[in-house]
Each structure stands twice: as structure tokens, then as C-alpha cells.
């Protein structure tokens, strides 16, 4: 990548630019999650969309799942392949001196940053009532593997937060406030 003046670059979870990636019943916007895009663009960030690990692995019609169900060797290997696909672009930005941040999707078993979903007894027939999964403060599996790939390349940790779309009851105003506090609290 040619050296260019430093830019502000936001790595964004795939579904923040494409709600079609969500599990059935999970899409809150038609396509683009406009409040996230507006918050980032108005502060001068350019956008770099991450791949969606779940869509390419478990499909467009996948069941809902929690962290423990995706925590398998095959899914982690798939996430590592995706991380290796996108890491050269991220590395180019960091080595160029760009200010890089990451906006994930809190509550997601894959793209969670501050929180992921957990339920140790999920499995078998998918007949659990809604909302019997829980939230715990932990990265999702995709974010864990992406951060591990960046570390393998000798890159510093990327400041990160999550848009709280997958936390059970979606609170758009609260999500927006959290994101703006994160963005405006940066040095």
C-alpha cells in the first residue's frame, strides 16, 4: 500500500453495513445501520467492512447460536481464514500511521466486543424459549481470532467497542450514546 497522509479508519462488523447478514428475526434496519455510519462519518472516519464469519459458515438460514456452540475447532479455523483475508488491509492502515478503531456487535457470539451471548446447555433440538441465553463480558469468537491474527503480525491492539444490537432488547438510543462516548472520549 502506498504511503498516504494518516486517516481515521473504522473497522466495522459486516452487518453494520449489511443487515441481510443477520440471523432470521435479527435485522433492525433494511441494509445499512445508519446511526453507526452517521456517527463515524461525521467524525471523519472512513469505513472498512469486516467479513461476516457466520453467514459463510452456517449460512443465511442458520439457527441462532451462542458462544459455546460456535466455539469449535472448525469454526475457529474458518475465522482465522477470514482474519488472514482482511488482515493485510488492516496492517496497511496501521503501518501507515492511520488511527484504526473497531466497532463490533455486542451480544453476538462472533462479533461481540464488550459482550457476547452465552448458554452452556444449548444444543440439540432448537426449542428453547427466547431470551434464555445470557450476556457475559467477553469477545465473540470472530473478534478473538481477528485480534489474534493482528497480534501475530506484531500489530498493537486496536481500540474497540460494540454496537449493542444483539443484547436481547435493542436500545438504539443507549447504543448510540455508548458509541458516541467511545468516539468522543478518544485522545
Amino acid at each position: 500500500m502506498a504511503t498516504t497522509p494518516p486517516r481515521k479508519v473504522a473497522l466495522v462488523a459486516n452487518c453494520l453495513l449489511n443487515q441481510n447478514a443477520k440471523v432470521c428475526e435479527g435485522a433492525r434496519f433494511r441494509g445499512v445501520v445508519s446511526p453507526v455510519v452517521e456517527a463515524l462519518r461525521s467524525r471523519g472516519y472512513t469505513l472498512l467492512q469486516l467479513p461476516c464469519p457466520e453467514l459463510a459458515f452456517a449460512g443465511a438460514r442458520r439457527w441462532w447460536a451462542v458462544y459455546e456452540q460456535y466455539d469449535t475447532p472448525a469454526y475457529r479455523a474458518h475465522c482465522r481464514r477470514l482474519a488472514q483475508a482482511i488482515a493485510p488491509l488492516i496492517e496497511g492502515h496501521i503501518r501507515n500511521g492511520d488511527e484504526v478503531i473497531l466497532i463490533g456487535l455486542d451480544g453476538s457470539p462472533s462479533s461481540g466486543v464488550r459482550f457476547t451471548s452465552t448458554q452452556r446447555d444449548w444444543g440439540g433440538r432448537p426449542n428453547h424459549p427466547e431470551d434464555d441465553w445470557e450476556i457475559e463480558p467477553r469477545r465473540g469468537i470472530w473478534i478473538e481470532e481477528l485480534e489474534a491474527e493482528l497480534a501475530r503480525r506484531g500489530l498493537p491492539p486496536v481500540p474497540a467497542t460494540g454496537w449493542a444490537l444483539d443484547m436481547g432488547r435493542f436500545d438504539e438510543a443507549g447504543s448510540r450514546r455508548d458509541l458516541e462516548e467511545f468516539l468522543d472520549g478518544r485522545p
Binding site: 500500500m1 453495513l17 449489511n18 443487515q19 441481510n20 447478514a21 443477520k22 432470521c24 428475526e25 435479527g26 435485522a27 433492525r28 434496519f29 433494511r30 441494509g31 445499512v32 445508519s34 455510519v37 462519518r41 472512513t46 469505513l47 472498512l48 467492512q49 467479513p51 461476516c52 453467514l55 459463510a56 449460512g59 443465511a60 438460514r61 481464514r81 477470514l82 488472514q84 483475508a85 482482511i86 493485510p88 488491509l89 427466547e130 435493542f170
Partner: protein, 134 residues
């Protein structure tokens, strides 16, 4: 749960159009207003693994009732769409190539934005294919 409001349509879009500035129209704004999602393509360069990952996603969407289009920009190599690499990847997966719309940077940006919006609004899968999945 809240109702699912996905739009079932999305556009392969070059980085240069997602983070566009004058003289290009605000393509991301047009996509948002038209209810399209985005599949971001990398800038010019060798990103073959990433293009394969993107082709996997297009294949999955194409098999399940989603409409996928591509928006290029005149003047970039391959219109910014990596078409010489992406088209064979899609063909090998047995997928019809997405219809393409090319943005012209040398004409009025507002008019180009409106031309894009009309094209996006007019496109979708055949009704019987929509009814099968949506």
C-alpha cells in the same frame, strides 16, 4: 422479538465509493436510502483471499433469495470491482454475475446519485423467486 426488516438487496461496492468524496456522489447514502446493504470490495491490489471470501458470501446470498448487484466507478482499474478476479470466482460457484451499474465521476454528482437510486429501486429478483424465500 422485534420484526425483521431486512431489505433482501445488497450491492458489491468498492472502497472508493463507500468512502467517497467529491466529485463522486454519496453512494453509501444512496444505498442506505434505497434499503440496500453493502458488501465492501477492497481497494486496487492483490486481495485474492478476501475476494474468495466475498464470493463465498455472494454464493450463499444468491442461493437464498437475496438480490446482489455491483456498483463500479468509471476510471478505476476494472471499475473498482476486481471483475477479472471476482467474475471467475463467481462463475466457478455457479452463480449468475450480478448486474452492474457504473458511476461516472465526470458528470454532476447529484444527478449521478439520482441515476443510481433509480437503478437500485428498479432492480430485484423475479417475484416468484422473492415469494419462495421472503
Amino acid at each position: 422479538m422485534n420484526p425483521d426488516v431486512r431489505g433482501w438487496r445488497m450491492a458489491l461496492t468498492p472502497e472508493a465509493l463507500i468512502n467517497s468524496s467529491a466529485p463522486l456522489p454519496d453512494v453509501l447514502g444512496v444505498l442506505d436510502a434505497s434499503g440496500y446493504g453493502v458488501l465492501q470490495l477492497p481497494p486496487p491490489g492483490d486481495y485474492s483471499l478476501l475476494l474468495a471470501v466475498i464470493a463465498d458470501q455472494v454464493e450463499e446470498y444468491s442461493h437464498h433469495g437475496y438480490a446482489v448487484v455491483a456498483i463500479g466507478v468509471q476510471g478505476l482499474p476494472g471499475n473498482g470491482l476486481h471483475w477479472r478476479r471476482l467474475a471467475p470466482l463467481l462463475r466457478h460457484r455457479g452463480i449468475a454475475l450480478p448486474p452492474r451499474h457504473i458511476i461516472r465521476p465526470d458528470v454532476d454528482a447529484a444527478a449521478e446519485g439520482q441515476r443510481l437510486a433509480r437503478w437500485l429501486d428498479a432492480y430485484d429478483l423475479p417475484v416468484e423467486e422473492q415469494q419462495r424465500w421472503r
